[in-house]
Amino acid sequence: MKKTSVIILSGVVILFLVSWLVKGASLSGEENPYLQGFLTTFAAFLTLAVFSFLYRDNPFYKFAEHLFVGASAAYWMTLGFWQTLVKKLIPKLSDGLANFFEVPTEEHSYWYFLPVILGLLLLMRLSKKGGWLSRWPLAFIVGYTAGINFVGYLRSDFVKQVSSTFVPLLIDWQGVGHFFSNFSLAIDGQFVMMLANVVIFVGVLCGLVYFFFSKEHTGLFGTASRVGIWILMITFGASFGYTVMGRISLLVGRLTFLFKDWLGLIS
């Protein structure tokens, strides 16, 4: 190990211990103050370790990353065992096992052996010779997912979306005179609502034209296609804006933890 690495590691360990002791002492009125102090300090260390990647890749980041992956895998495996196998499967198959795991017994259904068999077949993936058997449960999963989603997507993402596009371009229309005498830029006003519907109509039409490749994009068709590109770009821009907002929110969450829970700088 290089001398610089030893110095950095020693510094981090010393800072960790100091933080642990100071935090533990500051929580003296609470239950298990030094355990709480350790957990808060460790959480802060992991947060800073992840942030350190922004400077450059380093062993602290690697440690945090590996710990996260390992802890997540263990968490989901434990959860799958207790929530699915113990809670949903065992009560349907065996009273003895249900009593052992202290879960309420249920009326037996031997259909539940089917997922057990499929689950075991899925593990055949680990075998070189019997690996092909894992394709059966996989086919079942794909088929089930496609089946369960097909009707829902067709109804919600196609039929209802198409009908939502059929919007009136004139709302509460009582003539030009009435329109201008009651003209308002209010968000629920006649003009804005009509404009919104026009944008939906034109946007959908031009967006579809852009993806229609059986005709050359020239003339009026080309103009509509270009408007379609603009609509798509605006949509991507809005998505990017929202993504930035989301990421900043996460950063605010972590910094608030560091400043409030760890350092106690804010109340």
Binding site: S156, D157, L251
Partner: protein, 320 residues
């Protein structure tokens, strides 16, 4: 301190501003001017400088809070108005479909809607499609119910059925038979013995579903498998990255959308306006809009500087 608009923040910094706020804003403005100079001179800026600016822009409003006046937009207000217009005792289901990573964005809106529904004396059913949501749901109930609604009785005014495995398969079942998937509540008490579930068999008996999340299963699955299938009004509170995907469903398939921390802040402001007793409670959504705004201003500045550097660089190349 409170500002009416982000522009006012930069121009005046308002009255009653702390010294820290002024110093912080000065650091950001001077730093940005220095960056503008380097952009014009076509000096390459290290990406770590960008990170540093974002850190400063987010940290300052956290250390020296800056809040903005929020006003609910129609897309958020529709959710508030719906809960407000339902008669007392209506059944509202709140689904916590998120994990700790999403919590900074989604938790504030879950808190606000929960407070609103209980203050209006609706019967609230809590559940989660995410295993990680169960823990967050429990913590939320422990934090809010005993302190702010000590009179509410578990099983009568509200109930939590917790989490069950099955993802969208759960929704596919509860839309026609709720008790098949949740025979008992989170405390293992059979639903049939709880008054909150009287004359309740499926999601069709709900007056409103509000789902909080940002992943799968989440808002979209609630619309697909419950909202559209059973004609139940579904409102969504989603992480910002998911919000654009939900807008095509508004207003016909989704009652309203709270998108990211901005949606949470708008709902909180509407809640405080109508229920002043909650003004004393934390409003993390509104508080987080300060760092959001400052960070966005810095990012916009970077985009402008990037373009300035590009055009100056191109002009330099064009010169013989």
């Amino acid at each position: 301190m409170m500002f009416d608009s982000p522009m006012l923040l930069l121009l005046t910094a308002g009255s009653g501003a702390t010294v820290g706020t002024y110093i912080g804003l000065a650091i950001i403005v001077l730093g940005l001017l220095a960056l503008l100079y380097t952009s014009i001179k076509a000096i390459e800026v290290d990406r770590r400088i960008v990170f540093l600016f974002i850190f400063v822009a987010v940290s300052i409003p956290i250390l020296f809070p800056i809040t903005f006046e929020e006003k609910a937009t129609p897309v958020v207000k529709r959710i508030f108005d719906k809960i407000e217009s339902l008669p007392e005792g209506s059944r509202i289901l709140l689904s916590f479909d998120f994990d700790p990573a999403m919590a900074p964005e989604v938790q504030p809106m879950a808190d606000a809607v929960m407070r609103h529904a209980l203050a209006k004396n609706h019967r609230v059913i809590f559940m989660s499609l995410w295993a990680t949501g169960q823990g967050l749901l429990d913590r939320t109930m422990q934090r809010i119910l005993p302190n702010e609604f000590p009179d509410k009785v578990d099983g009568v005014d509200f109930a939590s059925v917790g989490y069950t495995a099955g993802n969208e398969g759960v929704l596919n079942v509860i839309v026609s038979d709720f008790k098949k998937m949740f025979p008992s509540d989170a405390n293992s008490i059979p639903l049939d013995s709880l008054p909150v579930f009287n004359r309740f068999s499926s999601c069709k008996d709900l007056d409103l579903v509000v789902t909080f999340g940002g992943g799968k299963p989440g808002a979209k699955e609630w619309v697909l498998f419950v909202g559209d299938k059973a004609n139940v009004p579904v409102a969504v509170g989603v992480a910002a990255v998911v919000a654009p995907q939900m807008y095509p469903y508004f207003p016909n398939q989704v009652l309203g959308i709270m998108g990211g921390i901005k949606g949470a802040a708008e709902y909180e402001s509407e809640l405080i306006k109508h229920y002043p007793q909650f003004a004393e409670q934390p409003t993390p959504g509104m508080v987080m809009m300060g760092p959001q705004t400052l960070a966005h201003i810095v990012i916009i500045a970077f985009i402008v500087f990037g373009n300035v550097a590009y055009f100056f660089g191109r002009r330099r190349e064009e010169k013989p």
